[in-house]
Symmetry: C2
Subunit: 140 residues, 2 copies
DNA sequence: TTATTTCATATTGACATACTAGGAAAAAGG
DNA sequence: CCTTTTTCCTAGTATGTCAATATGAAATAA
């Protein structure tokens, strides 16, 4: 019941890009240094975010990555779901789940559903913009 | 980010014992049949619950298991924590966590903390007694 | 043409998950 | 005492996931 490094790093990566979005796109090399994560691992993580259309890449020298939307438009949940998969607490709640025959009588399912709602309510409440604000409070 | 079968089965196991608590203790053989889980796997799961003092075992013929407390005294979270471990969403929040040097500047930690609170609020709100009530509504 | 960047795919080692297997220990009933 | 039924304990095993590293190709700015 843990969020993987991929998910946690993805959030820090997106925040790092958002915080350093100037005329120049953000290079993974720089993010890697600032966040203390290997470039190679970041490459893997960001590929999912590129595929999702969350960031756009510019190749070659002076290349890098840039956000496609405003920081207010990325919730934490959106980012996690791209790299972690669906983020539901039990597979019974997955869209592709074959519904099991005991589902109607399954009282534990009520718990999992409510847990799912509670998790979403947190993860979809905050956006990158919120994280940016907090970050600026700490390191002005 | 999934609850394992062990956690889910543990909850069904405890509910099954609670629902069939009569003069006779509940045998795993019967639970296994009702819940469609192997006796061997249930044995493993229940050992953690015995160790925690949640159920008491009676060996030999006419043996089985019995709850140590009233169903109202077991929250879902308590049961899950025994078999799944601490149930916090990131290891930074574990009691034994070596606190990382970036903790003070870590804005993502705020998210994880709030996620943890939200999860607890659901998992510690419901007890076995609630589950029993729901079950009885469905199959009177 | 070279250096710098992203892009794509494969490989690795460690660990976790979801079980099954085999037998020992306890105890009730005859 | 003996047999059967139950829990108890340890080990094994197949599969998968995690957390990376490694290798090299493709694009592009200067």
């Amino acid at each position: 019941m843990k969020i993987s490094t991929k998910g946690r790093y993805a959030l820090r990566l997106m925040l790092d890009i958002a915080m350093h979005d100037t005329i120049e796109p953000v290079r993974l090399k720089d993010t890697a240094e600032r966040q203390n994560i290997s470039v190679k691992y970041l490459e893997q993580i960001i590929s999912a975010l590129v595929r999702a259309g969350y960031v756009k890449s510019i190749r070659g020298p002076q290349g890098g990555y840039r956000l496609m939307k405003k920081p207010t438009e990325y919730t934490v949940g959106m980012i996690l779901r791209q790299v972690e998969g669906n983020m539901v607490p039990v597979s019974c709640l997955e869209d592709e789940a074959v519904d099991c025959e005991r589902q109607e009588q399954c009282v534990t399912l009520r718990i999992w559903k409510e847990l799912d709602v509670a998790m979403r309510s947190v993860l979809d409440k905050y956006t990158l913009a919120d994280l940016m604000g907090w970050q600026q409070e700490i390191t002005p």
